[in-house]
């Protein structure tokens, strides 16, 4: 699994990557009450705000971790936003994307680097 400074995790699955937010991010946000995901087929650029999440406290954005195309989104977290608080690194994934350049994954943080960031 790889991580971004925006507290997203990326996990390769075949020729796509699954993207979600870390436990640390989910805890910091508080209980989620609303999630809006991009449409499948959307071309996204790294840093582009593509997901809106709202917690009991505030609204925030989640940005595209790398360039690519959205191939699938997780309707379960739209229907039940608190799933993100319960299981952010597995059941509550946000979207899957096909990377424009798969080698860009190598530039992201590994688990040790991410742990060092949040400590």
């Amino acid at each position: 699994m790889k991580y971004t400074e925006e507290h997203e995790w990326l996990k390769p699955e075949g020729d796509v990557v699954i993207v979600g937010i870390t436990q640390h991010a989910a805890d910091a946000l508080g209980e989620l009450v609303f999630v809006e995901l991009p449409e499948v087929g959307t071309e996204v650029e790294k840093g582009e705000e593509i997901v809106v999440i709202e917690s009991v406290k505030a609204a925030s954005d989640i940005t595209a971790p790398l360039d690519g195309e959205i191939t699938e989104v997780n309707q379960d977290i739209v229907d039940t936003p608190t799933l993100v608080n319960e299981d952010p690194t597995a059941a509550a994934w946000f979207f899957k994307m096909k990377l424009k350049d798969a080698s860009e994954m190598d530039g992201l943080m590994d688990e040790d680097a991410y742990k060092a960031l949040i400590d």
Binding site: E36, V52, E54, V56, A58
Partner: protein, 376 residues
């Protein structure tokens, strides 16, 4: 957070694992480990304990010794019938300014030979100066700074408090009393800011943590932070000063006409006689250009304070703005309140909120969003 004040219950909050944030100059608990959503639900289901010691407690004592003189003096600052308030009773009030705007909202209790008032934390210095300036000829104005103030709210509040003080079970909504308990003097009212039954209790600062621990030792009780306090009062349709009412909103615009008793309205025994009376009474007669209303978003997206409102998906003319909004855990959906121009204020009117560049519908809805549970 060196410049921030701490309430007498600071150590209690730390012990309970609160996340503390700066609020109105105090270090206050925004949430406890239970979390905002579950704190909110717990308060509606059982009993929630709130530290509201940052609020201002003030005694108004008539120099003449005649309570009516204090009532009449306060009536020069608020459009309420204070003279009709019986000993042992409390009512909601607000200070108005010369334009009929609202300087602060407050609670006023008649305690026999003096009035006890509770004002908002962020306004308390200004409120005290205002009273010193305007009514100190007839009243002693004493700020109570050696007491904590806590609220116990929820359907089990009576069970919890009456286990310590049996008499409180007999109090009705807005009753107030001074009670001796375990060597301390408690000032108790049956009131609150959640839409639930409950009590607000002023307790000597030195006894505060011992008393609060007794309440929180009851399994029915969870401490509740500012986060859930806000969602509870929002579902209850209750105004937050600074958001939903302020110096630019009048009582008629704010839909608080119910709080202005007959005696102070046109044709009443003591008509007018408060700051901005001309403006306020004219609005009672002719209506106001805008009105505070409840808004229920049709989708799931919360519409928060500052969100602009429009009459349609395409019109460019703003008709108002949301002043409070978020997720209502008991409603299990987003709830908001805000101001709309009067022609769009009828219940059932569909308006559009501009959210992240999109116009999303919301319906003007009667408040409270969650039925009040007061013991009348």
């Amino acid at each position: 957070m060196a410049d921030l004040l701490r309430t007498p219950l600071y150590d209690f909050h730390v012990e309970k694992g609160a996340k503390l944030v700066p609020f109105a100059g105090y270090e206050m608990p925004v949430q406890y480990p239970l979390g905002v959503m579950n704190e909110h639900k717990h308060c509606r289901a059982k009993a929630g304990l709130f530290d509201v010691s940052h609020m201002g407690q003030v005694l108004l004592t008539p120099k003449s010794g005649n309570i009516e003189d204090a009532c009449l003096a306060l009536e020069t600052l608020v459009p309420m019938d204070i003279c009709a308030l019986k000993p042992g009773r409390q009512r909601y009030a607000f200070f108005t300014n010369d334009n009929g705007g609202i300087l602060d909202d407050l609670m006023v209790a008649n305690r026999g030979d003096h009035l006890f008032i509770v004002v908002n934390a962020a306004c308390k210095d200004a409120d005290i100066a205002h009273m010193q300036n305007k009514i100190s000829d007839s009243c002693e104005i004493n700020v109570v700074d050696d007491r904590a103030l806590v609220a116990l709210q929820g359907p089990d509040a009576e069970t919890v408090l009456s286990a310590l003080i049996p008499d409180v079970a007999d109090y009705k909504f807005m009753d107030v009393a001074i009670v001796d308990y375990d060597g301390m003097e408690l000032w108790i009212s049956r009131s609150g800011y959640t839409g639930e039954d409950g009590y607000e209790i002023s307790v000597p600062a030195d006894n505060a943590s011992a008393f609060v621990s007794k309440l929180s030792d009851n399994d029915l009780v969870e401490p509740i932070g500012l986060g859930a306090r806000d969602s509870l009062r929002l579902e209850g349709g209750l105004c937050l000063y600074g958001n939903d009412i302020d110096e630019t909103t009048t009582p008629v615009e704010a839909a608080l006409t119910w709080a202005v008793q007959k005696a102070r309205r046109a044709g009443g025994d003591r008509e007018g006689g408060f700051p901005g009376a001309e403006e306020v009474l004219a609005q009672f007669e002719n209506g106001a250009p805008r009105k505070r209303v409840g808004l229920l978003p049709e989708g799931r997206a919360p519409m928060r304070a500052g969100t602009k409102l429009f009459a349609s998906e395409t019109s460019s003319d703003e008709i108002g703005e949301i002043t409070s909004g978020g997720f209502g855990p008991t409603v299990n959906g987003p709830v908001s309140m805000g101001y709309v121009s009067t022609e769009h204020s009828a219940e059932g009117t569909k308006v559009f909120a501009e959210l992240r560049g999109k116009r999303l519908p919301a319906i003007v809805t009667k408040m409270p969003f969650v039925a009040a549970n007061f013991k009348r």
